[in-house]
Symmetry: C2
Subunit: 213 residues, 2 copies
């Protein structure tokens, strides 16, 4: 197996890598050592050729007729996704969604370490949710200068999202998960992923309305 | 303006329609009556030609040099997305995410009416979150037979998602927002939208790791 140069792996494969990783961990937990692209394809409802193509970015380490080693695949995908490192996460906005996310088990399990929460409301500053003690958003820049914040999860109201994200970017944050229902602008090198619940609900409404015509 | 036949509007436009609707409501709240495709394009960072193409599905009602009537656009997009109707929503899984979603303001604002929550844990059955009183998941089929459930929001653990969604589909639910980090299979005619927070975090990790090489 040659060394992986992560720059070779295109960003479009990331959602599939996440899917592979989840299924492979499940297989390992069940004591499975090896898996063929065909069996993996059936388990996650993808095309076996697509899976072989994705895995080819990691070099030649599947053996025809024997399949892939589950452990090796997990290692290489974990590295490829940067999950061998620990990333510090801050949540901006300690409302209902922010506090629920603070207690979201998926953070810790994946190497994401919640280091702080921020809010502007005096009624929540000082409270603790899971690992996250709520600080005043006025301390944001000072905190980022002292402690590394890799990822910011933004759950502020839509009207405050752009300004909040500009402060985060100025403080050195390069990866943002934005739950505020608004498109935000960021400079090159900053990745914003958007989770828009209201847009998801609209897609469901569109589907139901059309089906009932 | 000719009547809108929603079947004409392709599903791929839905995320953009949601975006237009949000911005148009903002404009109306600020007292703006008319908007050109160019101004709208600038406001939401899209191409004006794309916007004109999307609006052309609604018939000819923009006037060159005068722009689109904000009110008419809001009406036609609201209808196109099925948001002129009220949709009954049930949340399955009254954990931290489920209960946060139960209090999510976006539901009520958009005509989504939370009618029930379901959970299998005796410790939460009977509790109330926002509009949602938690029932035993054993009552799911009975409830769906008596009250219409249009949309199910699924926040159960990954291992329970497929079985839960099969029960919902058998009970007549045709639209599902799935937060469980697993792909689920449903028959034709059932739309499942997936919100996968762990996959979003992995995309951010991938980006950060690559940037830091």
């Amino acid at each position: 197996m040659r060394n992986v140069d992560r720059k070779d792996v295109p960003a479009v494969t990331v959602p599939r890598l996440a899917l592979y990783l989840r299924k492979l961990r499940e297989l390992r937990a069940r004591g499975v050592d090896r898996v063929s692209s065909k069996d993996l394809a059936e388990a996650i409802d993808l095309n076996a050729a697509q899976i072989r193509k994705d895995f080819s970015y990691f070099g030649e380490f599947g053996t025809r007729g024997v399949g892939y080693e589950v452990d090796s695949l997990i290692d290489v995908i974990t590295h490829s996704l940067g999950l061998h490192r620990t990333w510090n996460v801050a949540i901006i906005g300690a409302g209902l969604l922010g506090t629920a996310l603070a207690r979201y088990r998926g953070f810790g399990e994946q190497g994401f370490h919640l280091v702080a929460m921020f809010d502007s409301s005096a009624t929540v500053i000082g409270a603790s949710y899971g690992e996250g003690r709520v600080r005043s958003v006025a301390e944001l820049e000072e905190f980022c200068a002292e402690e590394r914040v890799d990822i910011a999860v933004v759950t502020v109201p839509a009207s405050e999202a752009q300004a909040t994200i500009e402060r985060l970017v100025a403080a050195g944050v390069r990866a943002i998960l934005n739950f505020a229902p608004v498109r935000v602008h960021t400079p090159d090198g900053v990745l914003v992923r958007q989770v828009d619940l209201s847009s998801e609900l609209m897609a469901l409404s569109f589907h139901l309305d059309r089906e009932s015509d």
